[in-house]
């Protein structure tokens, strides 16, 4: 731990001590532990440098390996730095479709042979797609490393896209899309994204929509795989009980012949919006309404992301102690949970507040939510709130270092998003260095209640009169 860290940590601790002792008291003479300043926090290193190995191969493939031999297990994977955000609206669902098919037959093995090879080891194989990345991962016993490595290389380099599996996956994706529409929370998220991002890939869920998924086939999946799974766009990662030198050599050999190609452009920026709009998704059967309030937010690379994160923690992501939770749950008993979040995507993602309440109280919850969004701007985090949140984030970060796989996934995500490799090492220092005016400015510049899009899922007949005072209301069918 550096001396600077020790000093900053001590100052933050003292400030928190003041915060805690200002809590109301109801008697008692001996000081309680919660009245005392917290003991100084020991900043453990993020990772033992001797266990971390990084290298970039000649074809551009980045390799990140973290050795941890406490348990005889191993996780490996390949992540590429593009995902559903580069899929055109006419092919919505293609990234999910491609990912699913990659796990359904590769190399010499068809779908069932591949599943049998993995299941026989008690191992796991997962291929997934997000907005910004796609990844294939295997996990199992370290003594099965050879077969796990072979399966992973097959899935990444030699997926088969067999015709019968293509038909199966398409049918499953369509059925899941239909089934998902019965879930009020999913309906709220989908309708929010659709109204916020017209004409952009973000308009539809990564699983697509029936009209586009129906038309997906092997040629599209094969082409998408060839486009994004290129070595200069990829990271090979491994964590667990492994020999770093031997694994590095094995990776070089297996992935040397990977055909190279250009890294696809990141895709278009989503649109901005101004003004207040309200969408009601009519579900007459519901006694509880799902609510999403939000507007365009920031990109993962936003230079002011740290003050924004700290400000948002005060607002709605500090667990039970956030302003939104204190007001809407603890004081008013109107909900079981409420959170706010800036989505961290490569292109500008949304800022959202999510919650739910009984139908007659929806107007009241919207009123309180908008009031808190206004208040974080007019009454930005105080000295005491800032100290408390710094301590919360630094402490939470320390807990996040418990497992090597969590540390590795953090390192891989940084590389995938193009963020500095030492971001985890500098995180605590950046949090502690924050000044009040930075979080105040973050609130003013990035929280925009007047531009909020409000989506509510529930019975339109009862909801519309409650919502009309907040802006123009449009009713849609689920």
């Amino acid at each position: 731990m550096s001396r600077l860290h020790a000093l900053v940590s001590l100052l933050a601790s003292l400030a928190l001590g003041v915060g805690c002792s200002s809590l109301p008291h109801f008697g008692g003479s001996a000081p309680h532990a919660w009245d005392l300043a917290p003991p100084p926090v020991q900043d453990r290193p993020v990772v033992d440098a001797t266990r971390l190995h990084r290298r970039t191969l000649a074809n551009g493939l980045v390799v990140i390996i973290l050795e941890d031999r406490r348990l005889p297990r191993l996780d490996m994977g390949v992540m590429v730095r593009r995902g559903a955000a580069i899929v055109p609206a006419s092919e919505a669902g293609l990234a999910d479709f491609t990912a699913e098919l990659m796990g359904r037959g590769a190399g010499q093995r068809d779908a069932l042979e591949l599943a049998s090879a993995v299941d026989a080891l008690g191992a796991s194989l997962a291929v997934s797609a997000g907005w910004d990345t796609m990844s294939a991962g295997v996990g199992g016993l370290s003594r099965d490393r050879e077969l796990l490595f072979e399966v992973l290389a097959d899935v990444v380099l030699r997926p088969r896209f067999d015709g019968d599996e293509v038909d199966r996956v398409r049918a499953e994706q369509l059925a899941a899309l239909e089934k998902a529409r019965e879930d009020p929370k999913t309906l709220a998220a989908w309708n929010f994204a659709a109204a916020l991002n017209p004409g952009h890939p973000y308009q539809w869920p990564t699983s697509g929509r029936p009209e586009t998924v129906e038309k997906l086939g092997a040629p599209q999946a094969r082409a998408f795989h060839q486009r994004v799974f290129v070595p200069a766009n990829a990271i090979f990662y491994a964590v667990g009980d492994l020999d770093p030198g031997a694994l590095m050599t094995q990776v070089e050999r297996a992935y040397a012949g990977w055909p190279s190609g250009p890294v696809p452009a990141p895709g278009p920026e989503p649109p901005d919006r101004t003004g207040r709009n309200i969408v009601v998704v009519d579900r007459p059967d519901l006694g509880q309404a799902q609510i999403v309030v939000g507007h365009p937010g920031i990109t993962r690379l936003e230079p002011r992301r740290i003050p924004i994160q700290v400000m948002n923690t005060v607002l709605g992501s500090a667990g039970f102690s956030s302003r939104l939770m204190s007001k809407i749950r603890a004081e008013e008993g109107l909900t079981y949970g409420v959170f706010s979040r800036f989505a961290g995507r490569r292109l500008r993602g949304p800022f959202v507040v999510g919650t739910f309440t009984r139908v007659p109280e929806v107007g009241r919850v919207i009123e309180l939510t908008l009031a808190e969004l206004e208040r974080i701007r007019s009454e930005p985090p105080s000295e005491q709130e800032l100290a408390a949140v710094k301590s919360l984030l630094v402490g939470r970060f320390a807990l996040g270092l418990e497992t090597s796989s969590a540390v590795l996934s953090g390192l891989v995500e940084l590389d995938a998003q193009g963020l500095p490799a030492d971001s985890l090492d500098t995180y605590r220092g950046r949090i502690r260095a924050l000044q009040l005016e930075q979080t105040a400015a973050a609130a003013r510049d990035f929280v925009r209640p007047d531009d909020a899009l409000i989506v509510v899922v529930g019975p339109a007949e009862t909801l519309v009169p409650q919502l009309e005072p907040f802006g123009p209301v449009r009713v849609v069918q689920p």
Partner: protein
């Protein structure tokens, strides 16, 4: 207990979706070795019993930056008498203030030091946990002592917390088809046993429950001899035990903790019910009575569940998802509770499939397992998966402390890892067939169809 059962059977103070995390895990799940070349860490557990009957299980591991402190209270919704949902509502009230602290201060003070803390209630237990860095452990202990000794249940805080819990009930059950189905299934398969009651309680009880009921519940169950403290991770055992003795030593004990005497009478014939819900496609649920946890058949039932449900090569996935386009997912799992057990099945139908057809195909697969033992390859695959899962649960301080608390309350000891692995390894193909024949009998099943509401007037 598998994940679905866990998700539905436990009522937490806050769903995890609302809790932000710094780093997210990478797709593939953790896995570990079937033949451990390493020591079971739980073998180093030290057991201390204070004069007031409080049991403390400590397991030091300085290689991790986290210490998990958990209080396991031997009370769940299965102990409720007149008021359903009391154990869970009371769990919420434990955060609503005490003699020296206002409502939510317990949570806020610890959250502001980065702690991960929460609580949950199941049919058997109520658990409070805080995962912290070691310098914050003394604070955790003092805060726990504060509420266990000086809890203050007031009319005001109960009034608002009651609304929170009713909102939780709407979220988990009334607006959620799977939650509703699970609630109805348990209420149908158990006719007498208190497990029939949903842990979150029936809404009418929640609306009427008062301060007096909460206080009586606290007196009955939150006594030193009805608690187990489990601590795992980075801490000093002697210092911690001294602190616990200082702050929790004065906790009162209660010699006669009340228990429900009711047992489930033998089921005489199949039971069926229909539940209407606003869904796009039906869901099928089934259940059979099975023995409680720790029974000699438990491992064979786990192996059977794995053969039927685990992975793409499992029988139910192959038949209902892969070969015939009937379902989005299908499973049958053994769920062991302290006083009874169940095998329960779920089939999430694809839109357009008739539920009678799905039921027929699902039952054909179960009958096949009753008619003939599984192949050697299937058996070995299932054993391997169970072993990997068992050892995979050793990776965090939180998981280790949970294992200590759960095992102590259920069995009065921590079952060694090797004992569990050996028991799984001893299961034969004939054992699997035998438990399928014994428990999955047609005249002992309970069947539930969750289907869209019929059109008006039809």
């Amino acid at each position: 207990m598998n994940q679905l059962g866990q998700a539905l059977g436990r009522m937490g103070r806050l769903a995890l979706w609302a809790v932000a995390v710094i780093v997210v895990g990478i797709g593939s799940s953790a896995a570990a070795g079937a033949e451990p070349a390493f020591e079971d860490p739980a073998a180093r557990t030290r057991t201390t019993v204070l004069p007031n009957g409080l049991t403390v299980l400590t397991l030091e591991d300085p290689s991790t930056p986290v210490v998990s402190f958990q209080i396991w209270v031997d009370v769940g919704s299965g102990d409720e008498a007149r008021w359903t949902g009391l154990a869970h509502l009371f769990e919420h009230m434990m955060f609503r203030g005490s003699k020296h602290l206002p409502p939510e201060a317990h949570q806020t003070i610890l959250e502001q030091r980065g702690a991960r803390l929460n609580a949950f209630t199941s049919r058997d237990v109520t658990v409070y946990f805080a995962d912290v860095t070691r310098e914050n452990l003394p604070l955790v202990i003092e805060l726990e002592a504060e509420r266990l000794r000086f809890l203050d249940v007031s009319e005001d805080s109960l009034a608002s917390e009651r609304e929170v819990v009713i909102e939780e009930r709407r979220f988990r059950t009334e607006s959620n088809p799977e939650g509703k189905l699970f609630e109805q299934l348990l209420a149908l398969v158990f006719q007498a046993h208190p497990y029939r009651v949903p842990t979150i309680g029936w809404k009418s009880d929640l609306e009427k429950m008062g301060v007096a009921e909460c206080r009586a519940f606290f007196d009955d169950y939150y006594a030193a001899n009805n608690l187990v403290i489990a601590i795992a991770g980075d801490f000093d055992t002697d210092e911690t035990l001294a602190l616990i003795e200082e702050h929790l030593g004065p906790l009162r004990s209660r010699p006669d903790v009340p228990r429900n005497p009711t047992e489930e009478p033998e089921q005489q014939g199949e039971r069926r019910a229909i539940v209407h819900f606003d869904v796009r496609a039906p869901t099928l649920a089934m259940a059979w009575h099975a023995p409680p946890g720790g029974h000699p058949d438990a491992e064979a039932l786990d192996v059977m569940s794995s053969i039927l449900s685990n992975g793409r090569t499992s029988r139910l996935y192959r038949r209902l998802v892969h070969e015939e386009p009937i379902a989005l997912g299908a499973s049958a799992s053994y769920w062991e509770l302290e006083r009874a057990g169940l095998v329960y099945g779920f089939v999430s139908l694809r839109p357009g499939v008739r539920i009678e057809h799905a039921e027929k195909v699902f039952l054909e697969e179960l009958e096949a397992l009753r008619a003939a033992p599984p192949s050697a390859a299937e058996l070995e695959k299932a054993q391997r998966a169970l072993e990997v899962a068992l050892i995979g649960g050793l990776g965090t301080s939180h998981a280790l402390a949970s294992r200590l608390g759960r095992e102590w309350l259920a069995f009065g000891r921590i079952r060694p890892l090797q004992e569990r692995l050996d028991a799984i390894q001893r299961v034969t193909a004939l054992d699997v067939q035998r438990v399928a024949q014994t428990y999955l009998r047609p005249d002992k099943r309970t069947v539930l169809h969750l289907v869209p509401r019929p059109e008006e007037g039809s």
